[in-house]
Amino acid sequence: MHIPDGFVPPSICLAGYAISGGVTWYSLREIQRDRDPQSSIPKSALFTAVFFIASLIHIPAPPPLTSFHLVLNGMMGTLLGYYAFLAIPIGLFFQAVMFQHGGMSTLGINAVIMGLPAIVAYYVFRLRSHLPRKQQFWTKALAFISGASAVLLSATLFAAIAIGTISPELNAATERTAIYLSLGSYLIQALVEGTFTVMIVSFLEKVKPELLQV
């Protein structure tokens, strides 16, 4: 789900950098409002590394696919809050340099595709604090929605940009069909990511609840 170099017109690259620059600036400002912003840096950095490593695990897929990788941007939002929008470009930078996955000119637009849904997931999961205590079901539901919706949102953004920009001559109806088609293939992934997020959140709730207090 990364847009490679040279794939989209320059205006999209520039817009990507502009938007991600703005969101990064806003995230940095939100972070500075923390009581002790500096103390979260090592945690966020190590979590960035964990997310990176976890996204390299091959998940066996139902046929006809063979395997896929987790995106995990929803979970990054739930665990890191605004730090997720710093962690994601770092992860994308590592991927671009190490595996040529994505690229330098499209780093901005890819950060938007992955990062904005992460922030949405953060806000969704944060609704938990407005719920009455011991609402196991709602914690799970919110975790599922965060994990699944972030992937779907990213996939929508990705498909819209990819299909909308390379083939401007396509008519609107065909374009929409193409986007729906590609979203269909991400539906299974969204279900898996949603379930996975629920499982991780339940695990952390038992073992280290303080990690969920972002």
Partner: protein, 254 residues
Amino acid sequence: MKELTRNNQVSLTNTVSITLNNLGFNYSKERAALTDVNLKIITGEKVGLIGANGAGKTTLFMAICGILTPNYGDVQILNRPIVPGRFNPDIGLVFQNPDDQLFCPTVRDDVAFGAENMGLAPHEVTERVETALSLTGVSHLIDRIPHHLSGGEKCMVAISTVLAMQPQVILYDEPSANLDLKARRRLIRFLQASSETIMISSHDLELILEVCDRVILLNQGRVIADGLPQKIMSDRVLMENNNLEVPHSLTHKH
């Protein structure tokens, strides 16, 4: 035929649990990690494995339990060759850092994990979990969260996760690292009483002296000495040539 061989073996008083035939392994072309290792470990033996860091102790363990594929030679456990990558509940490895072995949200789940993977019925799994935890003396921890345990408790739970598979052979990699003296003493008592064939790799020579009836000294992937712990570990020249020291409990005998 195979059945016959095994029965024959069992009828002998000294059955062999681990056989290494001319084993060799290298991570890269330049550096051999194991060279021509030949060993026979008799059932019920408690064997210590000593040597400086980088001598090949961990590599040897990884080859014995089938995580590494040797470049030449072969490994047999209970006279059946080890197939690298294939699950073999007859052999268990206790990792140096219990955190590497414990990953479930409860001790119960962690200890049950291996038994469940063997395809046992639920009541058998429960039984094995209880037996394993009582053998290591930590039954009271069954509902606790592994990540919250003390170092000594984690160590005993990690051992239980292996015991629950009821393996014939258990390899212990630096089991006393990071333990305080009380937890170490409990570990020593447990190891002395254990009935499996065991191999213990450790820098804690006093532990090996107390537990093992045989010691193997490795250096640069080769077996340098193999014999009685008191004899090998009190040989100052041999020990110092291999970057080791004679343990204190043996020095005053000189």
